[in-house]
């Protein structure tokens, strides 16, 4: 086991973990406000394809990123309209949004399959520029990767240290009580979904514009659903989500390491770890009172009549 291969594993874990963490944070915000978004997968796809398309056309990755982020927000508003305004079932609406994303992203991305882009720049970790190229290239990350941990902290601060976050969590626990104390549950849920959508957009932007630098149909490969699992795994907490995302992407990267040292574990089986781990965690909590899902999660808020 060389230092180089260890670094390689770490680096690829951080790369794939970044997009995972962004979308998980987005899902955390939505679920804290009481809304399960099963459509994340579709949102990611549409954001990734439109961000990539804009990057190709405009030749500017930052513009592409901006579009991806905004598209994420707008896509989540579709879900918001259905589940908040029209009081439709959240699971069904999310799945419909997922199918919508499959289709729309295929349409948007179609002309740009195989296109080359100027990706977000990679910046070497400060102080490491003097290392040999082989090492420094493994340790150079794009701006979105440097921002992901601060974003998680920011989301934590927003949810747990601001009045708005308090209101949001109150809505997630009991929208009627939140309404009685002068908050507007519908508005807050829209805001939560929009913010969550922006974060999904960042996740998608990282995936298509910075990490893989390509567009393919279904390229998100289930990240939207992994995010749902990670939200539960991290008990709806943004900081624990950092650990979850790293553990998860680390497991995938770890497999490369095992392979290089001659141990064969199917990558398919390693991919199941986060889901199984989440189920096990749920079973362990199930016996106790520790389960901290927002109480109104998945329920329709009918408003006060």
């Amino acid at each position: 086991m060389t230092l180089l291969s260890m670094l390689g594993v770490l680096s690829s874990a951080i790369f794939s973990g970044t997009s995972l963490l962004y979308v998980t944070l987005g899902e955390v915000i939505g679920q804290r406000a009481g809304i399960v978004n099963l459509g994340s997968e579709g949102v990611l796809l549409v954001s990734a394809s439109s961000g990539f398309a804009v990057t190709v056309v405009a030749g500017n990755p930052y513009l592409g990123m901006l579009v991806a982020v905004l598209v994420g927000g707008v896509m989540n508003m579709v879900l918001g309209y259905l589940v908040i305004h029209r009081q439709a079932n959240q699971l069904a609406s999310g799945l419909a949004l997922m199918f919508f994303g499959f289709g729309l992203s295929a349409l948007i991305g179609r002309p740009y399959v195989g296109a080359k882009i100027t990706s977000l720049p990679r910046i070497v970790l400060p102080g490491l520029a003097g290392l040999p190229r082989l090492y420094s290239s493994l340790l150079s990350f794009d701006p979105l990767m440097y921002l992901v941990i601060p974003t998680a902290v920011f989301v934590w601060w927003l949810l747990f240290r601001t009045r708005w976050g308090l209101g949001l969590r109150a809505v997630g626990e009991n929208p009627d009580a939140a309404f009685a104390s002068g908050r507007n549950p519908r508005l807050i849920r829209y805001q939560a979904l929009f913010l969550g959508g922006l974060l999904s957009g960042l996740s998608a932007a990282h995936l298509s514009i910075a990490y893989t630098m390509t567009w393919n149909e279904y390229m998100t490969a289930g990240r939207g659903f992994i995010a749902v699992a990670l939200v539960i795994f991290s008990k709806w907490h943004p900081l624990r989500a950092i650990v979850g995302a790293l553990l998860f992407s680390g497991a995938v990267a770890f497999q490369l390491l095992l392979q290089s040292s001659g141990v064969q574990i199917s990558p398919f089986l390693l991919d199941t770890i986060p889901y199984l781990a989440t189920i096990i965690v749920l079973i362990v909590w199930g016996g106790t009172r520790k389960q901290s899902a927002p109480a109104s999660l998945g329920r329709v808020y009918h408003g006060a009549e």
Binding site: A92, L95, F102, G103, A106, V228, L269, T278
Partner: protein, 352 residues
């Protein structure tokens, strides 16, 4: 989810009910077609011509119609896999995973006993498929029954696990000498028979039989009545001596077995081979269809038909309009959105 809708329906006369439903569904479809037409127009395709093509090639010819029926089969079966557990208040979002595991079990049968005659092999594969699906649903059912974890979460998470197990099996053991993403073609004895020179396979008969059985079970048996009681109030049902836990576990497994059958039907009747990621959301579509139909058998039949016309139309757009197949999902989604949003012309009072 379903009973509320039923209750509303019962209070109105049959004729009014039917015209209401008819008006509602036509408007839904019109709205969805307009929205998708706009998208086609933006991407430079003629929407009117595209729709004309879709209609003539699905409903306009015998072969086209048979293809619609083919596309209906998995949706119909997976919708029932959701409908059965929903009758005791269980939300089975796990049809996708159960379908995959059912397909894997059935494939094991096909690959292990290729020399058996069809009358031995096919029933065996059906049993294996149902067993696989049931086992996959047993975990969520059990965890729900003992009060540990909500079945919605577990079924959802297990969906993502199942296709990876298929990948493991295909990649590691079952792949054909030529290709790493699928098994060798099944022997003819492992293929469900098809009818009238079309691709409609025996699975369609299974689907209709299950639909019928579901309807009769709910309507005419003591089980149906007890299930209704559990749906209404599990605690009260328990006090009245109804074995609620047994019902929960059993019906979850029955749902899983039905989804597993859908997997068997797809690999044996449709593909004739086990492909990596072959489902691409069939189980989720079943969930949506069942949910939108309020668990009602006739509604499930009708909605599966509509969904099948749309998905069959996707092939056509791909062939004649040069659009990716996935684009048809937009029309599908618009239809679902419009139904979910229940615009003002809809019957009111259905609780989500």
């Amino acid at each position: 989810m379903s009973q509320t809708a039923d209750r509303n329906h019962r209070s109105t006369p049959v004729l009014q009910r039917m015209t209401n439903a008819l008006a509602r569904y036509s408007l839904v479809i019109l709205l969805a077609l307009t929205l998708f037409g706009a998208i086609l127009l933006i991407s430079g395709k003629d929407p009117v011509q595209s729709y004309k093509d879709i209609i003539t090639h699905t409903l306009g010819s015998a072969y086209g119609f048979s293809e619609v029926v083919v596309a209906m089969i998995p949706t119909l079966i997976t919708a029932l896999a959701v409908a059965v557990p929903s009758r005791v208040g269980l939300i089975n979002v796990g049809g996708e995973g159960q379908l995959y595991i059912g397909a894997a079990f059935a494939t094991w049968g096909a690959l292990t006993f290729p020399n058996q005659p069809a009358w031995v092999l096919l029933p065996l594969m059906i049993l294996l498929g149902m067993l696989g699906g049931a086992l996959w649903a047993l975990v969520p059912g059990y965890l729900k029954a003992v009060g540990l974890v909500n079945e919605t979460i577990t079924t959802l998470l297990l969906n993502s696990v199942a296709p990876k197990i298929i990948g493991f099996l295909i990649f590691g053991f079952w792949h054909s000498p030529m290709d790493t993403v699928k098994t060798s073609n099944f022997v003819p004895a492992a293929r469900l028979p098809t009818f009238f020179g079309t691709r409609i396979n025996l699975g369609f008969v299974f689907a209709l039989a299950l639909l019928m059985a579901f309807w009769l079970l709910m309507k005419n048996t003591r089980w149906g009545l007890e299930m209704r009681a559990i749906w209404g109030n599990p605690e009260a049902a328990k006090r009245n001596g109804i074995p609620v836990r047994t019902y929960w576990i059993t019906l979850m497994c029955v749902g899983g077995a039905i989804a597993g059958l859908a997997g068997m039907v797809q690999v044996s009747g449709f593909y004739g081979v086990l492909l990596l990621n072959f489902s691409m959301g069939l189980g989720f579509m079943g969930f949506l269809v069942c949910w939108l139909a309020g668990g009602n058998p006739a509604g499930i039949l009708l909605l599966s038909f509509v969904v099948a016309i749309i998905t069959t139309g996707g092939n056509l757009l791909q062939l004649t309009r040069g659009l990716p197949y996935a684009v048809i999902n937009i029309l599908l989604a618009f239809t679902l959105f419009v139904v979910l949003a229940r615009p003002t012309f809809s019957l009111k009072g259905r609780n989500a």
